[in-house]
């Protein structure tokens, strides 16, 4: 009896622990193997925006590139904890022979991993986090930031909303690095365009699921636009509840400052239709994006790729091209050397097309502003977006002279 109870207890307690450990414990047998570590949230609120689909997309890049050197993709769950993220990153770089870490959503974790990569001169391709600091204050010669950042979102969604007449704003903001920075950047664009901010409700993150109180405050502020500076499940809940409380019927417009197609899928088109949002990738953008999606979707049928997933693919592919150029031996020596090579070569992939990486490590691609379709306009699974406007790559991002990155010559 005693033994039974113990085994049940330890069994139940050990399950979540084993899930937290890095997936692959295999020793780095061959020193020449290029190892790619995909580090993201595989069990929490950002599981669907990154998660296993991100790992699948990185593997897809390896499979398509068919390198003439050995490549291995491993993955782990950082559970959105900066300390856990940093310790997995150190373990990977120091003991597992990992040459590059990819994905890493959640700005706080992303910045912690940036410190680890910088100290070891290891390549780090962030595709999952929003903070513009990765190519600013926290930049490093071995870091590239892909797909989106707070500045680009604020400019695209924020700018377009003000131009469409939304000149007074109320923010509902996740009270941590990401939400605060997104609110600050959006406020800048709103004010520059002549709009004003009437108020904000910074709410505790994580753990808030009821937004009705903040929505009511937004309503009584009489602002024309409700700016949501949050992500994932929080965004989904905010929008759902805004509908319930009649904010949109009262003429208020919702600007979801960061929203992915996965969130639209969770909301359903009945509620999501008419929303504007910015993503740098959409599966139905052109023939190449459709071709990419067609290759990936069979491996992740319930979770179609969003811009993070697409960037996992594109960043891994470009990384492999750089390694091939340098040779695996040279590539394993220094992260900065690989990233330099990546910056020298123009990027070209099915997800984002032809683009480039700037001196400070920012991947420059066009930013697409989308409007979510109504049910009547949607003709198939995941047919959710209408393209409203595309901001070209040279205008979508923070100008290089404002970057704040230490190694960029003024």
């Amino acid at each position: 009896m005693q033994v039974d109870r113990r085994s049940v207890l330890t069994g139940a307690a050990a399950l979540p622990l084993t899930a937290a450990l890095p997936r692959s414990r295999a020793r780095a047998q061959a020193n020449k193997t290029i190892r790619i570590g995909v580090l993201n949230d595989q069990s929490g609120p950002y599981r669907d925006t990154g998660g296993i689909t991100g790992v699948i997309c990185a593997k897809q890049a390896v499979q398509e590139f068919a390198p003439n050197f050995a490549v291995e993709v491993i993955s782990a769950d950082h559970q959105n904890k900066p300390d856990l993220g940093a310790s997995i990153a150190s373990e990977w770089y120091d003991r597992q022979g990992v040459d590059v870490i990819v994905d890493v959503p959640t700005s706080s974790v992303a910045l912690a991993v940036a410190g680890v990569a910088k100290a070891r001169n290891k390549a780090y391709l962030n595709t999952g986090a929003a903070t513009a600091d990765l190519t600013g204050k926290a930049c490093a010669p071995s870091i590239v930031h892909w797909s989106y950042d707070t500045y680009m979102l604020a400019k695209s969604t924020g700018g377009a909303t003000v131009h469409a007449g939304g000149d007074s704003w109320y923010f509902i903001t996740a009270d941590y690095a990401f939400g605060q920075q997104l609110q600050r950047d959006t406020t800048d664009f709103v004010q520059k365009a002549g709009g004003k901010v009437l108020g904000a409700s910074p709410y505790p993150f994580p753990g808030t699921s009821d937004f009705s109180s903040f929505l009511l405050q937004a309503q009584s502020s009489k602002a024309k636009v409700l700016g949501l500076c949050n992500a994932g499940g929080d965004t989904v809940n905010s929008i759902k509840q805004a509908h319930e409380f009649g904010l949109t019927e009262g003429g208020m417009k919702i600007a979801a400052m960061l929203m992915f197609i996965t969130d639209v899928n969770a909301l359903g088109l009945d509620v999501a239709n008419g929303l504007t949002l910015t993503e740098s990738f959409y599966w139905d953008l052109n023939d190449r994006t459709r071709a990419f999606t067609k290759r990936v979707v069979p491996k992740t049928p319930n979770n179609w790729p969003n811009m993070i997933h697409a960037a996992d693919y594109a960043a891994t592919l470009h990384f492999l091209k750089a390694v091939k150029e340098l040779g695996a031996d040279a590539a394993k020596q220094s992260g900065a050397t690989i990233v330099d090579q990546m910056k020298k070569m123009p990027t070209d992939d099915d997800a984002f097309g032809k683009n480039s990486i700037r001196e400070d490590g920012l991947f420059l691609c066009p930013a697409n502003l989308f409007t979510v379709k109504t049910k009547a306009e949607s003709h198939g699974p995941w047919d959710y977006y209408k393209l409203a406007v595309t901001t070209p790559a040279d205008q979508a991002w923070k100008p290089l002279n404002e970057s704040g990155c230490y190694f960029v010559k003024a």
């Binding site: 505790p204 319930e244 969770a266 359903g268």
Partner: protein, 295 residues
Amino acid sequence: MITIFGIPGPLLFGQLLLGLINGAFYALLSLGLAIIFGLLNIINFAHGALFMLGAFVAWGMLTYLGIGYWPALILSPLIVGAFGVLLEKTLISRLYGLDHLYGLLLTFGCALVIEGLARNEFGSSGMPYAIPAALQGATNLGFMFLPIYRGWVVIAAVVVCLGTWLVIERTSLGATLRAATENAPLVQAFGINVPRMITLTYGAGVALAAFAGVLAAPIYSVNPGMGSNFIIVVFAVVVIGGMGSILGSILTGFGLGVVEGFTKVFYPQASATVIFVVMVIVLLTRPAGLFGRTT
């Protein structure tokens, strides 16, 4: 317009009402916890996961079987309650007579397993669950726009809470239950099957959580993490109300919902902590909780 502490009156009334709505969930969940703790002496950490399971069963019935909200409101608590009975029979019953800590660890482990499995199966973004047709829309109360569904949540929660309280306090079944809480061997000596009663009580407490889950489904997205958002707060509610106190958990649930609602207006950053501040104050001044008995 009337203003109170610089906040417009209508906004405050609105928050009061919203507080009651959130309080309805706190009350329903803490009621189940209080019943389980009162009779089984088990701190049921799996309560949040079972709440989530209630919502998922409702979602599953709608998606795969086409069973709508109203039948789900009855069926889901029955199904999840049966699952609770199974849980009690196979696992929890082995821990009676041991320290509270064992029950806490076991149920916590169960919660992690249930949530992990749900996350593996359904992802974390959540599933949409539509508000039933009869309760769609909103009414303008003058000071706020009240979604009809939320009004229904408060009414349903009050009715169920009061019903449960009446059963426990005013019926002979309730009297037996309370007697078994006080002195199980004596009640058993009267020929009452106490183990079966305990199992059914656990099932009933779990069914209450599932009922709250179905009520919550149209408001929040149905996602594996929905229970863990609530559970810590609900535990604080139970502690403040007094462990095992039925009426205490109901009143504290609604009351703290309102306190939290007002905090969201005056200082939103503290809205997640205010309940714990109250808990500390209550524990310092009345260690047994507001409605608890010192024994």
